[in-house]
C-alpha cells in the first residue's frame, strides 16, 4: 500500500508531524532538483508497518531538522546538506558525510558552490583515554571505511565512523540513462546483494508504470531473492565463526556457499544471478528441470547448514564470545530506524516481505523469526533460522512453479514516478524513481546499510576493542551500498 502526498508548502511539516506519532518510522529522506533548478525535499515514512507515505516539498533555503523527532534522520540530513546544499536548522552535528578532505574544492556534483570536506572527530578526554584509528584500508578482504575508537585499556568508550570512501555518485549516474539500462547500475550498488537491487529497481519501474509481473516471473524472482539471502546468511555465520578463531565451520560454510554458487553458474549461467532480472519480469527462463536440480542442491545445503549451525551453537567457546557481546538495545534500534536482521535480533519485527508484500510474497504467510537479546548471538541466530525459512520458500516456489510468461511488456518510453521496497539480506531496500519519456530523471536508493551503520557505534561502548571485528561482522553492512 502506497500513498503519495506532494505538498509544495507543507510536506516537511506533515512528515515531521507524522514521525512524532509512535507508530511511524522514517524510511528515507532525500533531495531532488527539477528542470528549473528548484530543490525538493522528499520524506518516505512507514506508518504502522503497513503503509509507505511519500511527502514532498519545494524548499527555499532551510528546513527544520527532524533529528530531535527521530535520530534516524541524522545521516540523511547530512547527505541532503552535502549533495543538495539544503540548510538544516537545528541539526546537532552537521559535519560533511559524503565529501572528504582531499575532494577537489570546486567539484560539487549539483551546485556551483564549493565543497566542504574538513571533519572533526569527537575528542574523548580523561585519564588513560587514547584513540585507535582503523582504516580505510583494512587487514582483510573487505571494503574501505574508517573507524575511530576512543579506548581505555581494551574497553571502548566511543566509536565514530567515517565512511563514504566508496562513494561513486551512483544516484547521479542513473540520471539521464534509459530505464532498460538501470538494472546494470543497480546491480553494482552492492554487489553481494545484486539480485535484491535488480528486483527493487525493476519493481519501482513496474509500480511507476502499473505493470504486473506474470506468476512464473514472480516465482523465479522469489527463488533468486531467497537464494541470495541464503548465500549471505551462510557466509555471515561462517565469518562469525572465523572471527572467534573457530576455523573449521568457517571453511565448512565457505564450501556450502560455493556449492550454491557453482550450482547457479552451471544451471542459471551466473553465480550471483546478475543480468537475469529486468523491469517487467525476468530476462530469460529457467527450465523446470533445472529448477528441480537447483532445488535439490538448495535442500541439501540447507540440511547440512542446519546441522552445522546446531553444533556451532552448542559449542561453549562460541557462546562465550557471542553472548551479551555488542548489544543493540531495542529502543536504540527503533530510534535509529534499524532494519533487517539487526532489527529482528533487537526485538523489532520488521520484514518488508510481510509488512509490504510484493511479487509472490503477496500470496504467502511468512514466518518472521525474531529475538530480543540484541547481541551477536541474536544476530547469528536470526540468520541461522532465516536460512531454513528461505530454503522452504524456495522449495515451495519450485514445487508450485507456474507455467507461462516470465515478463510483461514495458512501455519503455513513458513518464511516471514510483517506488518499491524489497527485503534484501541486509533489510529494507527501496528504490525511488522519476522517469520521463523513458529516461531516468531521479533515482534515490534507500539502502539498509546507510540506515544501520549509525547503530553499530551504539553497540560498542563497554565492549573490548578485540571484539569489534566480531560485532561489525554480526551487522555485516555494505560500505558500497551505504556510500553509493
Amino acid at each position: 500500500m502506497v500513498s503519495s502526498r506532494s505538498n509544495r508548502d507543507a510536506g516537511v511539516a506533515e512528515a515531521q508531524a507524522l514521525l512524532k506519532m509512535g507508530n511511524s518510522r522514517l524510511v528515507s529522506l532525500f533531495g531532488s532538483i527539477d528542470d528549473f533548478g528548484a530543490t525538493f525535499v522528499h520524506y518516505l515514512v512507514d506508518v504502522d508497518s503497513r503503509e509507505y507515505r511519500h511527502f514532498c516539498e519545494q524548499v527555499g533555503h532551510a528546513i527544520p531538522s527532524a533529528v530531535s523527532i527521530t535520530p534516524a534522520a541524522a545521516w540523511y540530513e547530512r547527505e541532503l546538506h552535502d549533495l543538495y546544499g539544503v540548510a538544516i536548522e537545528g541539526h546537532p552535528n552537521l559535519q560533511p558525510l559524503v565529501f572528504h578532505e582531499d575532494w577537489p574544492d570546486h567539484l560539487h556534483p549539483r551546485l556551483k558552490g564549493t565543497v566542504r570536506g574538513e571533519y572533526r572527530f569527537l575528542k574523548v578526554q580523561g585519564e588513560g583515554v587514547c584513540e585507535v584509528p582503523v582504516g580505510p584500508v583494512h587487514a582483510g578482504i573487505i571494503e574501505p571505511g574508517h573507524f575511530r575508537f576512543s579506548v581505555v585499556g581494551d574497553t571502548v568508550l566511543h566509536l565514530e565512523l567515517r565512511h563514504f570512501y566508496t562513494h561513486k555518485g551512483i544516484e547521479a549516474r542513473f540520471e539521464g540513462i534509459d530505464v532498460s539500462n538501470g538494472v546494470m547500475l543497480a546491480e553494482s550498488v552492492s554487489g553481494d546483494n545484486c539480485f535484491a537491487h535488480a528486483v527493487a529497481y525493476s519493481q519501482a519501474v513496474e509500480n511507476a508504470f502499473g505493470l504486473s509481473v506474470p506468476p512464473r516471473g514472480r516465482a523465479l524472482r522469489l527463488i533468486g531473492l531467497e537464494l541470495e539471502r541464503m548465500l549471505a546468511h551462510i557466509a555471515d555465520v561462517g565469518a562469525l565463526c572465523g572471527d572467534v578463531a573457530f576455523v573449521v565451520p568457517a571453511a565448512y560454510t565457505a564450501r556450502l556457499k560455493e556449492s550454491l554458487l557453482l550450482a547457479s553458474a552451471s544451471l542459471v549461467g551466473t553465480r550471483y544471478w546478475r543480468s537475469l532480472c529486468r523491469p517487467g519480469g525476468m530476462v530469460r527462463n529457467i527450465t523446470d528441470e533445472k529448477l528441480r536440480e537447483l532445488g535439490t542442491r538448495v535442500a541439501e545445503t540447507a540440511t547440512e547448514f542446519a546441522e552445522l549451525a546446531k553444533m556451532v551453537l552448542e559449542t561453549p567457546s562460541v557462546l562465550n564470545r557471542f553472548e551479551s557481546t555488542g548489544v543493540l538495545k531495542r529502543e536504540v534500534a527503533r530510534a535509529l530506524g534499524v532494519v533487517g536482521p539487526a532489527a529482528r535480533a533487537s526485538g523489532l519485527r520488521l520484514d518488508v516481505r510481510r509488512d509490504h508484500p510484493y511479487g509472490r510474497y503477496r500470496t504467502l504467510a511468512l514466518h518472521v523469526p525474531h529475538f530480543n537479546s540484541g547481541d551477536v548471538l541474536g544476530r547469528a541466530r536470526i540468520r541461522i533460522e532465516e536460512v531454513s525459512v528461505s530454503a522452504h520458500l524456495i522449495a515451495d516456489a519450485i514445487r508450485e512453479i507456474p507455467s507461462g510468461a516470465i515478463a510483461a511488456a514495458v512501455p519503455w518510453q513513458s513518464s511516471a514516478q514510483g517506488f518499491s521496497a524489497v527485503e534484501s539480506p541486509r533489510g529494507e531496500l527501496l528504490y525511488f524513481l522519476h522517469i520521463r519519456e523513458g529516461r531516468i530523471q531521479r533515482c534515490h536508493i534507500k539502502s539498509p546499510s546507510f540506515q544501520n551503520w549509525p547503530a553499530l557505534p551504539m553497540s560498542m561502548p563497554g565492549n573490548i576493542i578485540a571484539d569489534f571485528p566480531l560485532i561489525n561482522k554480526s551487522f555485516n553492512l555494505s560500505y558500497s551500498g551505504c556510500d553509493r
Binding site: 570512501y165 562513494h167 546491480e187 553494482s188 554487489g191 565457505a254 558500497s480
Partner: protein, 274 residues
Amino acid sequence: MIFDVAARSLAGKQVLIPVEELLGNCSGSRMPEVDPAFLNFESARDAVDSCPTSALRFETQENGRYLVLDYGDCTGCGNCINAGHGALRPAARLVPCGVARPALARRWNVDTGEELAPEIAEADRAAEQIRALLGRALNIRQVDAGSCNGCEAEISALTNPYYDLERFGIHFVASPKHADMLLVTGPVTRNMEGALRRTYEAMPSPGLVIAAGTCGCSGGIFAGSYAVAGSVSQVIPVDSYIPGCPPTPAMLLTGILQSLNRMTRKGGLGGAKE
C-alpha cells in the same frame, strides 16, 4: 560440539577443483565471445547497438572490418547475446586474464569470422625481475579502491576449499608492507585515491599491481562520474588486468598465475587439458 564439527567436516567430500579445470575457465562469468559461424555484418551491428558500454565496437583495418570486444569495458549484461542473432554466446574458456590492457580486447573479422592474433605486449623488464625473485611464494594485499564488493566476494572465494589458493603458495596478507602484489578493485573513487597511492607506496619494491574487475580495468560503468578519479592505472602503475563483473574465482586465479607467467609450465592458458 567442537569435535563433532571437525569430524563432520573431515567426513565431507573432497571438493578441491584440479588446476587444469580452473585455468582459463570462465563459466558463470557472463562474459561473451564471438561464435564465428554466426558472425556477419548485420548480427555484429545489432550486437554493437545493444552494448550499453563501449565494450563492443567496429574497427576498420587495412585488411577488413573487425568486431572488437574489449573485455576491460564489458559488464556481462548479456544484451549482445540476446540481440546478436547467435554471433555472441556466453564464453566458457579463454577470456584473457592477467594480461596487459590492450590484450583484453579480441578482434574478429566481420566478413570471414577469423580472429586476429592477439597483441602480445612485451613483458616489462621490472616485472620479469619480480617474477624471478618471487619463486613459489606470493603475498597479495587486496585493496578495494571503491568497488561494489562483488569483486571482494569472489576474491574471498579463492580461499574456500574448492579453489584453495594457498596450494599455489599464494597468501593474502594484512599489510601492504608484507606484499609482493597489490590486487586492486573498483573504479578509484576520489575519497580512496589518496589511500590507494599511500598503500602502493607502502609496498616494498619490487612489487606487481593487478587491476581486477571491469571497474578496475577501465572505470567500467562508473568512469566519468563526479566521484570517480579514474581507473586504477590512472592513479598507480598497473602490470596486468583481470576483466569480469565480477571476475569469477577461476578467472582471478588464472589472472594471478598468468601475471606471474607460471602458466607456461603447464602449456599456457587453456592448454593444460588439450
